[in-house]
Each structure stands twice: as structure tokens, then as C-alpha cells.
Symmetry: C2
Subunit: 148 residues, 2 copies
Amino acid sequence: MQNEIHNDEPIYPIREAAKLLNISIHTLRMYEKENLIIPFKKSSNHRLYSKSDIERIKCIRSAINDAKISINGIKTIYSMVPCWEVIKCSDEDRNNCPAFLEHNGPCWSLKGETTICATKNCRECSVYKNFGECGSIKSFIRNKLMSL
Amino acid sequence: MQNEIHNDEPIYPIREAAKLLNISIHTLRMYEKENLIIPFKKSSNHRLYSKSDIERIKCIRSAINDAKISINGIKTIYSMVPCWEVIKCSDEDRNNCPAFLEHNGPCWSLKGETTICATKNCRECSVYKNFGECGSIKSFIRNKLMSL
DNA sequence: AAAAATTGATATTTATAAATACCAACTTTA
DNA sequence: TAAAGTTGGTATTTATAAATATCAATTTTT
């Protein structure tokens, strides 16, 4: 869809993203180090943020500042995403994948080196892209279980 | 099962529970106020804790102290439990229940006043009882989705 | 080619969550 | 029935997560 492409386009350098979010550049880098976000990287290693990235970070900010969920709490909540249902990876992959077996952080921070995800760019993955919106994780679980 | 009955029996007064967990009485009351735990209450309103309660609180302590998840983070993680799949409540109940629709805290802290849960004692409910063990929420989601 | 911006890494500050202390009223124990 | 324990409430302390600052090296812009 045209609109999605538009929203996913990496256009804001870090200073501009920080200004849009009213936070410091350092905070943005911290969120990345904590594996909450995966900004686009130019070949020079400089970061660029998309409109979707900005929305995702707004959710993260609201979780931290309004809901009072710690960063490690957010990571654990991300780990509840049934990524294997999105990726449709093999049974063998699943049984070798910490994202399937554990609950320590988002799949894109773990990606088992033996699985189909090992070589993927997680920023482009629907697991990462679909769960930027606040509340989307429980919705997904609910909808999946509805079809039982 | 005999063993479960044994583990669920409310036997420790608050001082003893606090000593077993190496925390203060006040902290135990705080966890309750935050809806992380539901200790048994005698008719005099005095609290009693079971072995299962102690284990549950150990998980909570480990989440706070080791995993560095805030109390509000734990509440949100509890809200990921698909309680409606355990309770098998009606479609009408679900569409009137914050525990089905939202993600702000454990179902036992919300219990929609129009649903089948309204009159239940949540301490006795399998939703509460089954998710005391650390990591059990993701396991449950995983197992439920396996049968798709 | 000079000025402005970004990089990562470490150190410091600040904001606040979590734990503790204190209280008078009530309950249990011995 | 006296001593020990528990109750809920508010106030305070403490521990630390989150944010910020500083740095030299590199990249981008004009």
C-alpha cells in the first residue's frame, strides 16, 4: 500500500526525530541499544527514522512515562509476541529459537543463529513492523485465539 | 490432587511469609494493593499465605530485582493472559469485559461487573492459580496456539 | 575545505519506583 | 487480660532506572 511505504520511509536524521519526540538524541540511542527500536542505517552508519518509527517511539514513551513500565518490562512484553505465527518458521527452527522458547526480550534482539531469521533484516520484518502500535500485541493474541 | 491442596492451603501469617521471603510486611501489603497477589483473608480480615503464594511472590521478586521489570510492567504482563480461554466465558461477557478488551492489569484487578467473573473469588480461580509460575504466560500462549 | 552533525563509549545527574517507618485501632495468643 | 501481632493509612527514605552530559573520531553539508 502506498501509504505504508510512505510511513516506513526513513527520512528523519536523529536530531529531527529527537525534536519531533521532544527527547534527547542520547535517549534515542539508548532505546536502540536496549533493542526497543531498529532505526534505518545509512551505509555511513548514520541513523534515519521513519514516520512509523516516530509512532513506535511515542508508544514506548507513553509506556515509560504514563503507564510506568520499565524498559525491561517493555522488552518482556515484546517477547510475548508469537513471532513464529507470523514468520511460519519450521518446527526445527522453533525448537532452536530463544524467541519461541524464552521470554527475555523481543525476537529481533535474540534471533537464534540457526533459524530462518538469522539472515533477515528485522527492521523489514512484519513481526517488528506490526507491533509498533500500542496494544497491538494483546489484539494479535486475541485474534489468533478467536480462530480456535 | 493432594499435593495441590496442600500447596494452596493458607497457613502462614504475614510475618512468617515476610520472613520466608526475606522482605518486610509492608512490601507484602503493597504487592496486594497493587493487585499482584490475592492472599487468603480470615473472617477477621487477617491475611494468610500458602506455599503457592510464597512461590508466586518469589517470581514477582525475581521479576523486580533480577529482570528489573517494574510493578506496572508485571501488571501489564499479567494482562496478556488469555483468561477468556480458561474461563470459557460467553461472547457477550467478553465484549463487556476489560480483561478481554484491554491490557492494563491482571483480570482479577478489573473483573467487569457484568460478567460471570463478577461474583467469583479470584484467589480460587484457575486463571490466578495457573499463572503464578514464572514464564507460564508465554508457555500458555504457545501451547494454545500450537493447537491451531 | 570549513562548519555542522553524527558516531560510540563512559561518566554523571535526576527523577521516581520500591521499600521502609510510623501511627492508632483492632485481633489473636497464651 | 496482658502481650504480641495485624490492620490500613500516610509520610519518608533509599535504591536505581532513565535521561543527560562530555569526549574525540568520523561523516555530511554548503
